[in-house]
């Protein structure tokens, strides 16, 4: 394979130049920040690399205004450290995909987090990444620099382009600078742990907890599993000022007592539990395909029920609204790196099953981790081109064409085919 051509701009002007050049030559550009999520979305067509790592650094942080602006490739670690010093946070609790793909933690960048709309456990109560982006500057696939949104927390001026950028995976524009809404970090936290609940009982417990005025900030359930050693554990996190957390904790334990006996754990253990959800240490990696399944939260337990026969380890976050499922790979017959037909067929079959389960419950599924060879053998579309919402698909294609008429940005990465 020929060596990939590489641009490494260090200013917005150089990004503009690189994109304009690509537009003029009708050549594709693969946009890469920290690369922590790259295996998740590799552009299918040949492209030069646009290495954004030098477009980094916090450019404005005003804790009193609850606003932070940083260049796109600023590492999340740097942003969280700066926020931490002022006891603030990105409330959507983004997680780091790097370790899932065998990379060291800490490579995720703000731009990547926004491009993937990556949100963690607090998404349940505080919204997703898309709910916290206020504004941006970018270079669109037309080779033009544009801005959207603003730098204040309340703004309805014009179309909400910041939300459109969130989750667009770099297919519409190359993000240069991003302004985020930030929030005070809770001064205290505890997690109530309930042991030994079935998936359905845990689902009911989480629903009941969220129907109480306890302001549960995150709710997760780790079922017992043959493949792993853990015993079923359900966690409900309470955060805020100490006296409030104490009062809500007592009230919640009392109200949920008929459904299960909970134990409140101190901040340190609570933190460890949710860090586990953030890095997904709790699901097996080696030899497993990782699927992400998003469904209406009260139906989460049904995903487990429908998957149960496959002996697939899975965990629930977002009170059941998010299921991470680790599907065991069948070992290649010859023990080599090549994918044999049986392996590919097996992966395809379970993939089709997971998509069907997600759809039947009103949700959707995405393959997050798979060996490259196996991933390449799986169809990227969630369903056949003739199914799905054709109207929605056409809108996606026209939107892509409006921002990137020549298909320069992350070529071959087609979000429309996932509908």
């Amino acid at each position: 394979m020929a060596q990939q051509q590489c641009h490494a701009p260090s200013t917005a002007a150089e990004v503009l130049e690189a994109v304009a050049e690509a537009v003029a030559g009708r050549r594709g550009l693969e946009i890469r920040g920290g690369g922590s999520k790259r295996p998740l979305r590799i552009p299918a067509e040949p492209a030069a690399l646009l290495d954004m790592r030098a477009i980094a650094g916090i450019t404005d942080y005003d804790p009193d205004e609850l606003v932070l602006t940083a260049r796109a490739a600023t590492p999340l670690l740097e942003i969280e450290a700066a926020l931490g010093e002022r006891q603030q946070m990105l409330a959507f609790e983004p997680f780091d995909h790097g370790p899932l793909f065998g990379a060291l933690p800490g490579r995720a960048t703000l731009g990547g987090i926004i491009a993937g709309n990556v949100s963690g456990s607090r998404r349940l109560s505080s919204g997703a990444a898309r709910d916290h982006i206020l504004g941006f500057t970018a270079v669109s696939g037309r080779g033009e620099e544009l801005k959207g949104g603003g730098a204040v927390v309340k703004n309805v001026t014009g179309f909400d382009l910041p939300k459109l950028m969130a989750g667009s995976w770099g297919t519409l524009a190359v993000l240069i600078s991003i302004t985020m809404r930030v929030l005070p970090r809770p001064r205290a936290e505890t997690t109530l742990l309930f042991r030994g609940l079935s998936d359905q009982a845990a689902g009911r417990l989480m629903s009941a907890a969220l129907a109480l005025p306890a302001a549960v900030s995150a709710a997760a359930h780790l079922p017992s599993s043959r493949a792993t050693a853990w015993c079923a554990t359900t966690g409900l996190r309470l955060e805020g000022f100490g006296p409030s957390v104490d009062a809500r904790c007592r009230e919640l334990l009392r109200a949920l007592a008929p459904m299960g006996v909970g134990e409140a754990v101190a901040a340190e253990e609570s933190g460890a539990f949710w860090r586990g959800m953030r890095t997904l240490d709790v699901v097996p990696r080696e030899g497993h395909l990782l699927w992400r399944i998003s469904v209406p939260p009260a139906l989460g337990w049904r995903v487990g029920e429908l998957l149960a026969s496959s002996d697939v380890p899975y965990v629930y976050d977002w009170a059941g609204g998010l299921v991470w499922a680790a599907v065991p790979e069948t070992a290649p017959r010859d023990g080599g790196a090549q994918v044999d037909d049986a392996q590919a067929d097996g992966a395809r079959a379970i993939g089709a099953r997971i998509h069907a389960i997600a759809r039947s419950l009103g949700g959707h599924a995405m393959l997050v981790r798979a060996p490259a060879a196996l991933r390449a053998s799986l169809p990227s579309a969630a369903r056949a081109a003739s199914d799905g919402d054709q109207g929605l698909r056409r809108l996606h294609q026209r939107l892509k064409a409006a921002f990137d008429p020549h298909g320069i940005l992350n070529p071959g990465l087609d979000l429309a085919c996932e509908l």
């Binding site: 205004e65 606003v67 809108l395």
Partner: protein, 497 residues
Amino acid sequence: MSVRMPAPDPRTLASRARIVAAMRDIVPGEGVIDQFDELAPYESDALTAYAQRPLLVVLPENTAQISAILCWCNEHGVRVVPRGAGTSLSGGALPAQDGIVLGLSRLRRILEIDYDNRIAVVQPGVTNLAVSQAVAARGFYYAPDPSSQIACTIGGNVAENSGGVHCLKYGMTSHNVLGLKVVLMSGEVIELGGKAFDAPGYDLLGLAVGSEGLLGVVSEVTLRLLVKPQAAQAVLLGFAEVESAARCVAEVIAHGIIPAGMEMMDRPAIHAAEDFLGVGYPRDVDALLIVEVDGPQQECSHLMTMVTEIAVRNGASTVRVSGSEDERLRFWAGRKAAFPAIGRISPDYYCIDGTIPRRRLPEMLTRMSGMAARHGLRVANVFHAGDGNLHPLILYDANVPGELERAEAFAADILRTCVAMGGVLTGEHGVGVEKRDLMGEMFNDVDLAHQERIKCVFDPAMLLNPGKVFPNLHRCAELGRMHVHQGMLPFPDIPRF
């Protein structure tokens, strides 16, 4: 009316009878209004300075009818202006002379309440308050609470991405909508989002919320329900100087407190409210803050202690914590009646909506006094202090020749200053026709062209809510070709209507 709208199409005006007949075929019975007198209530929204009688009004009853109406209008090139309750403060529902008004008031059913998933699915004509009322018995509510919530509809809230006094803590409409059914101008019906927390593909849901009726007509909305906090408590804080009040607000945030509401009023607004209702606001202060906290009683007490300490440290001359629910509501009554209170002391007033970084508030008020003198008009200020959203109320008399124009010029000066200070043209009322021609203050031609191309994706013939949001109406074909070199459009002087 001093705002230029797209020129009416004479062919459409001439074929009115045919359009009426086509609409009657789609919506039988009382659903088509074509009598000149009966069209009067639809000629403006809450921005009454702008009025235009529409060609006719159609009031569909379901998604299928909306789809048939839009499909017919699209095929025949007829403009359509969607309308909820008509409470827009930016002229978002201002009719087109050659267009139909598509009123959604008859779609007012709550279709589903799903407590397990904490959502409600409602039709667009359901009022904001009706949602909260429907779920109150189970201890839930719908958080965004624009001041017009008795009348304004969820469809309108979605179009405008409405806020309210509690949105600092609980978010705007966009943070509280999980799904939409949208009818496109072509008549196609699409579903965006749903009951799950996210959906594949581009965030068209995020794009649709706040699109001011330019992209599609919403026919169903999936809303997120929240559990009502156990208690709420408010404190009245009076300050001799605006600077001290602003410092107090910043310090509350710096201490990690996000109050449920944090409102500020300036001296003219305080006096008007006190003269009107006599709720007990101090008259000898330049700034009044109402800070509300909510949650369990222990949280309220804890936060109230922190807030009052911060206020005293910043020189508050009045500190009154609500001792009962009655008293809390009384504190709010004055603020909520600020608009009618101003209406009592002035024949007309013009409510402005812009956002600035909060720390610039004292400077903004000083500059506003200067502008008031220059334009020869009075101004009173209410202010969502927590998020920097200003609502200056300009007092004028429409019967005095030139006063409306002076009020508009004053408003434009305020909004330009907002942008110059690092803020934005509108925090929650929308651009509509009101701020349309100021969009260039915030966005350059390239920025706007990217937004307008989105309009073209959804409505290539530009028939839906024409003349709103964008200052220059480019044709979609032209936008496709338009290339900008060094920030210069080709032929920048050509009018683009």
